[in-house]
Amino acid sequence: MHSHSKGFFTGLKCRECGRLYPAEATHVCEFCFGPLEVDYDYATIKKAISREKIASRPKSMWRYKELLPIEGEPTVGAQVGFTPLVKADRLAKELGVRECYIKNDTVNYPTLSFKDRVVSVALSRAKELGFTTVACASTGNLANSVAANAASAGLKSYVLIPADLEQGKVLGSLVFGTNVVGIHGAYDQVNRLCSEIAGKYGWAFVNVNIRPYYAEGSKSIGYEIAEQLGWKLPDNIVVPMASGSLLTKIHKAITEMKKVGLMKTTKCRIHGAQATGCAPISHAFKNGSDILKPVASPKTIAKSLAIGTPADGYYAIQSIRETGASCEDATDVEIIEGIQLLAGCEGIFAETAGGVTVACAKKLVANGTIAATESIVLCITGHGLKTQEAIAGHCGQPRLIHAKLSEFDEKIYHADFKK
């Protein structure tokens, strides 16, 4: 049932039972409660898309628009994505691999995290569906991105947060004039209330009723990696996991590129990275299980990854297995070392999730899962300025001197160069 008015996507499909739904603001299968996913008409896309056509378009994630779920042109976040793929030779040496690249979403436009990708799809689709108010519940990056993108699109926005969230994190949303609502209560109570609000007020809740569209935005990282490597894939990609959605969507992107004829071979292992203090996906994978044991109280500095019951965890494990990849997790100390290693080798300041990715990549190489002769892409998903408190006190102090050349000579130059 392909309709040109809907672009190249045909509707929604249950991931569990395959039942089809129209392309509306809905996200759960009425029959089995499985998650809905966007369904595409790949035969039609294959005829419409080509490497040349993509190359002729502006450098944003929307150059792959046939594979993104909106009907017309993007109306929100037209400049999002196509972040640099940095060849990281110094880091490669440190990790002990032949070739290493950083997919650098710390400089994604406009709020310095990969969330701008998912939000620009969610809000563009929300506008097509006639919504005028958008919302989300978030403790960080997602809130900032919804607030900023909604502001630029002239949409009214609400950001729900746990009442005890640090003020510093709230500021990055408040500045855009969004309505920030703090909710008292335990995490699960807040979670349930948010789902009720989403159902009751007819708002476009980006990660609830718009979730099927929203999640598709993550695929653009996969397309970009391939195109930026000259339509080749690395041997390995390492992806941080919170809900596990990003990893499954990069996997989907890779399989789609084969389906629509953009690539002939799509062999690539997609490894998952979590923080040890909240690693339900990594633990299930290591135990050879499909069942994720919930983490009741996550304890990690990587707060953006601290989801105790990951919605897409099961599917992430399937993707990891299917691509022959593996899973690792990193302690807080290793996360901080990871942030410093990336910053010191490549001049890229990543948030704690980036530290998780680097640290887990290091472990995967050290334990032989990734061979020294292979290539690797690390997905770095957010800027370090967002989680400065996590590394405060770990990077040393400036050395203080008086405004005298003799003091500089003695305390700095001699100490550093005349040892």
Partner: protein
């Protein structure tokens, strides 16, 4: 009569009480109708997606009862709060 509503949850049942007929108990302790969407129950853990129909106040009471027994009650849209 107050309006009835239907809400859907994922219940995560800890191993200690995984053998208890919890869904049956909900239907008897509270004026609620339950309907299972999916379930995966092992000796270690029970995960059930459940739709519950009844008055809002009664649904609330059932959630409190479940949480007292350390059952995790999440909306089907788990991860409503993201980073």
């Amino acid at each position: 009569m107050k309006k009835k509503e239907t809400r859907r949850f994922w219940l995560t049942i800890p191993s200690k009480i995984v053998q208890r007929p919890i869904i049956w108990e909900i239907g008897h302790k509270f004026d609620l109708v339950t309907n299972i969407g999916q379930a995966s129950v092992t000796t270690e853990l029970g995960i059930i997606s459940l739709s519950i129909e009844g008055q809002r106040s009664e649904i609330k009471k059932a959630i409190q009862w479940l949480e007292k027994m350390k059952v995790k009650v999440e909306p089907v849209e788990i991860n409503t709060i993201e980073g």
